[in-house]
């Protein structure tokens, strides 16, 4: 924890991974990124969990021989655009695996833009139009390649994912 702070103070830039879910561009510090795998043929690697009534918990997935929880950030952040047509080209679909303190989660994304270094000073405050639930998970927003990217609060993300329950999940 302390070391990380020092490093950040020194560089004032953070390494982030930018990805897209539906039409939302999101970012997480790349320090939590564990792996990215191709989503092709991944249905074979999935298994649902019986009794699960929680929309965030999609099941388990085999990631290189390890069984990880498969979750939906879409449902967690309530990025529900089901009315709009999802124009995602399937070849961009990936599965991201994140890890913090040995808590691993895998989730599907529609596209990965890449890993970049950003100057934290360039990060701006978010506009009021951002939906409430996504807002609470967003630390700041910034412009990248003409895209408005939400920098997610990874602390809160891991916190709420690690409280995931099979039943009675409340939003």
């Amino acid at each position: 924890m302390e070391e990380k702070n020092i490093e950040e103070e020194l560089s004032e830039t953070v390494s982030i991974v930018i990805f897209r879910i539906q039409k939302e561009w999101l970012a997480l510090p790349s320090i939590v990124l564990e792996k990215i795998i191709d989503a092709k043929n991944c249905t074979k690697l999935l298994h649902t969990i019986p009794h699960s009534k929680n929309p965030v918990l999609k099941g388990i997935i085999n990631i290189c021989g390890e069984i990880r929880l498969y979750v939906s950030l879409e449902k967690l952040l309530v990025l529900d655009y089901s009315n709009e047509e999802n124009k995602t080209n399937h070849i961009y679909k990936r599965i991201m695996i994140i890890n913090k303190n040995n808590n691993y989660f895998a989730f599907p994304v529609d596209e990965i833009h890449g890993i970049y270094r950003v100057d934290i000073n360039s990060l701006q405050n978010m506009p009021d139009s951002v939906v409430k639930s996504k807002k609470s998970f967003t630390k700041t927003m910034f412009k990248w390649d003409e895209k408005l990217v939400s920098f997610l609060d990874e602390e809160l993300l891991f916190y709420s994912l690690s409280k995931i329950k099979i039943k009675n999940y409340e939003f």
């Binding site: 969990i49 085999n62 929880l69 609470s136 409280k163 995931i164 009675n168």
Partner: protein, 851 residues
């Protein structure tokens, strides 16, 4: 106020954590005085201990932590210079404080302050953990030699061959203890050594009474090594008299006197702490084999790239062949030049031959590669499984001693013979075997083997024999415990079964002996007329049965009345691999542990019987309820109208249930993987596994399944969501001290509130953003994010700003109160308020009663 022991335990563990932080911090401070800028964490640590101590009213701990805190603040403000002497002084206080985490002290700390003066100087704390571990491992080996030697000397007094090795063992213990500065263990080892020397010279003889004493000394040394870093001082004080008696008794032995029975109570053994990430001892040979195999795999992999190259060559030839054929086509289209066609055909033939040859040799190569690769991966797999194996003798070290002690108490002569000491057993199974085997052995000693006179009158040898045997057979581990005692009286057993109303007399008459013995495994079935302290046959045999079932094994008893009893345990070789029967449910694959399936078959729809709205079918003249798996697992319902219904029959021993699945897949051996602990226990599911094609499988927990089935049959809905519509008010307690957190939680829960906890401001900030609370109770001093910042965050958030907050802190100066209220807290309390009704009253005033 009366505190539950858990609060005290919490305090102890807190003291342990924080003193560790303090210790480490002080060392850094000593090495680098600039660290003083970071001493805030240390002050907080001391402060937190003080907090806990105040709650529990432990005066000494309050004072000590107060002193430490003050010194640290003085360091920080430069009022106290950072000389090594000053730091050492604080360090000593921390050591004293640490005593509180070790001891089972009552509230009065008098004894602590007393012996911290007496004992600590004599036994300087050994900080180096690796030294302690090394010492323990060494002592353990030597103590084993002593125990083994003493036991064999007792059963065979004329065989002095073991004395030599015992002398060496005692001598080594003496040496090790000297290095560790353990005076008492040096003395004990020394006097034991003298004893063995005298025994070797035949100056003295070691009868059973003397061996009693020497075995007790072994126990004491063992305990000393166990308590080394767990409050040895306290333990020594408690057992001082015992140790003195032992030393005196051994001196008497040395003088050639036979000591009459001394009363030395049993030494309580340390409870094994469950360490999640436990260390595992693996022999060097096993690791070398594994390294060899992995090395070969790496070499094997090199084969691929030349193979790829040769395939590319093959492709080239094929292309050439294609070109020729195309040319041939062109030639034949225009005119018939037989000569040219003939030439091309010969060319094509040659190319074709070439490619067939090449393909053949590639196929051969590939075949060889697959073979070697199979052997390699199979080898690795078995080696890795082998790492989990330990010799059987590792798990039964205590048994010879236990048999000896028990038989002496009962005044019986019993010899335990162990066969298959080197048989390899999965370490998990070895651990689980301990209790059941102890149980079976105790039964055999107490009830199986007859008293000496009885054996004599029956014409049996005076010494009873118990065989404990472990062998591998047909991929299973077989463990047999056989005694040559009185055996089971089947007439009595029949009577007992009838008497207990477990079966009618005419059925009992027809039962075979084997079937009759099965009754012994029923809970609470005891045939012993008197239940002794050591065992009552039958009580607990169900526990043995359950353990065996749990790991997917079998148990059976055979007995011949008058000649002895034998227990056969048939267990899987390892717990990491399980044989399963795979089925498809809702388009996904699930596995039943094969050992828990009674039967599988397909029944057609017209065999279903409907009784009271439930489906049954007839098997062996009894109605077995039929349940669809998707009902149990709560999947979306769809019409089941297929005529052929695959059914798996499971049983809890008395009732049978038919589970309808979508499709049978077949048997499969799977490597068990635990599921993510975040999920907690998933109903009906035990573990996961990965199949050869990479797809995950969930493995059923059959006990749980049966439970769910019974609930469904009773008409209980499985999903009971929010039965009580009335909402209980929910409070979040944010506090870094475990003691105070638990205290506040208990007080609030007693009042009827629902309570969630967070460990610091950051954690609390995460919690309030993801869940709804009616009130937040927060400390001020916390790591990562302090209370003031936490409250400021809440009050600046549009959605949360109306959430009421109470601060509970030690800091009772006006400054802090002002700061807290300015941040937006509704109420500021000091931790003294926890001692009376102030705290609860403030909560009720702010948000009302829980409902």
């Amino acid at each position: 106020m009366n505190f539950e022991p858990s609060l005290l335990d919490l305090f102890k563990s807190e003291v342990e954590t924080y003193t560790a932080i303090l210790k480490e911090g002080l060392i850094s401070l000593r090495n680098n005085p600039a660290f003083v800028n970071k001493s805030e964490t240390l002050i907080k640590a001391a402060h937190s201990i003080k907090g806990g101590a105040q709650i529990l009213e432990i005066e000494e701990a309050i004072q000590l932590s107060q002193t430490i805190e003050e010194s640290l603040i003085a360091f920080q403000r430069g009022k106290l210079s950072l000389t090594p002497e000053n730091i050492d002084k604080v360090s000593k206080d921390v050591d004293m404080l640490k005593v509180f985490s070790d001891l089972s002290f009552e509230k009065s700390g008098e004894s602590i302050s007393k012996h911290k003066v007496d004992i600590i100087p004599a036994y300087p704390k050994i900080q180096d953990k690796s030294m302690i571990d090394l010492f323990r491992t060494e002592i353990e080996t030597h103590l084993e030699v002593l125990t083994y030697g003493l036991l064999s000397l007792e059963s065979n007094p004329n065989d002095t061959s073991q004395i030599e090795s015992m002398m060496r063992a005692a001598h080594s213990i003496k040496g090790g203890s000297k290095v560790m500065n353990l005076e008492i263990s040096v003395q004990l080892a020394h006097i034991m050594e003298d004893c063995f020397v005298a025994a070797q010279k035949k100056d003295i003889s070691l009868g059973p009474e003397n061996i009693d004493i020497l075995l007790k000394s072994v126990d004491i040394i063992k305990s000393i090594s166990e308590f080394l870093d767990k409050g040895l001082e306290q333990w020594l004080i408690e057992n001082k008299e015992q140790i003195q008696t032992l030393l005196d008794s051994i001196s008497l032995i040395l003088e050639g006197k036979t000591v009459s029975k001394v009363n030395v109570s049993n030494v309580p053994s340390q409870q094994k702490s469950e360490d999640k990430d436990k260390m595992v001892r693996v022999t060097a040979t096993k690791i070398e084999k594994l390294m060899g195999l992995t090395g070969e795999i790496v070499v094997n992999d090199r084969w691929f790239s030349p193979f790829l190259g040769s395939l590319i060559m093959l492709k080239k030839i094929q292309n050439e062949l294609l070109n020729i054929l195309e040319k041939l086509g062109e030639v034949t289209k225009k005119e018939v030049d037989l000569k040219q066609i003939h030439e091309l055909l010969i060319n094509a033939k040659e190319k074709n031959k070439e490619s067939i040859l090449s393909l053949n040799s590639r196929l051969n190569d590939l075949d060889m590669f697959i073979n070697s690769s199979f052997f390699l991966s199979d080898g690795i797999y078995h080696e890795v499984i082998g790492i989990r194996m330990r010799p059987f003798s590792d798990g039964i070290k205590n048994f010879p001693r236990m048999v000896r002690d028990l038989s002496r108490t009962l005044n019986k002569k019993i010899q335990l013979e162990i066969i298959g000491k080197s048989t390899e057993v999965d370490r998990d199974i070895l651990e689980k075997l301990d209790a059941p085997l102890t149980h079976i052995l105790r039964n055999a000693i107490d009830h199986g083997i007859e008293p000496m006179e009885e054996r004599y009158s029956k014409g049996k040898p005076e010494t009873g024999k118990i065989f404990l045997e472990a062998v591998h057979r047909a991929g299973m581990l077989i463990i047999r415990v056989t005694d040559d005692g009185r055996g089971i009286n089947f007439d009595n057993l029949r009577e007992k079964v009838i008497q207990k109303n477990l079966a009618s007399p005419d059925i009992v008459e027809k039962l075979t002996d084997a079937e009759l013995l099965e009754f012994l495994f029923l809970p609470g079935f005891s045939t012993a007329s008197k239940v002794t302290e050591i065992s009552g046959r039958g009580v607990g045999l169900d526990v043995v049965y359950n353990m065996v079932k749990e790991v997917g094994g079998f148990i059976s008893i055979t007995s011949i009345f008058g000649q002895g009893t034998s227990f056969h345990l048939k267990l899987p070789l390892t717990l990491s691999v399980i044989k399963t029967f795979l089925v498809e449910i809702n388009k996904e694959i699930y596995g039943f542990p094969l050992s828990r399936i009674e039967k599988v078959f397909v029944i057609s729809k017209n065999e279903f019987k409907i009784i009271e709205n439930r489906q049954y079918f007839n098997l062996d003249n009894s109605n077995i309820p039929l349940i669809y798996m998707d009902d149990i697992l709560e999947f979306e319902q769809y019409e089941h109208d297929q005529d052929e219904n695959p059914v798996v029959i499971v049983s809890d021993g008395s009732n049978f249930y038919g589970l309808i699945v979508d499709r049978f897949i077949g048997e499969c051996e799977l490597v068990i993987r635990p599921l993510d602990p975040i999920l907690g226990k998933i109903p009906d599911i035990n573990a996961a596994a990965i199949m050869l094609d990479g797809s995950p499988v969930l493995i059923f927990d059959v006990e749980d399944l049966i439970h769910s089935i019974e609930n469904i049959l009773k008409g209980k809905k499985l999903s009971k969501i929010n039965t009580s519509k009335e909402k209980i008010k929910k409070i979040l307690v944010v506090e870094d001290s475990a003691t105070i957190r638990e205290m506040e939680k208990k007080l609030l829960e007693k009042k009827g509130y629902e309570v969630d906890v967070a460990f610091d401001g950051m954690d609390g900030w995460n919690a309030v953003r993801t869940e709804n609370f009616d009130l937040v109770i927060s400390d001020i001093d916390m790591p990562r994010m302090d209370g003031i910042k936490f409250i400021t965050h809440i009050k600046n958030d549009d959605n949360l700003k109306s959430l009421p907050v109470i601060i509970v802190s030690y800091k009772d100066t006006e400054d802090y109160r002002q700061q807290g209220l300015e941040a937006g807290a509704n109420c500021y309390l000091t931790k003294n308020s926890l001692q009376d009704e102030t705290f609860i009253n403030s909560v009720v005033n702010l948000i009302g009663e829980p409902l």
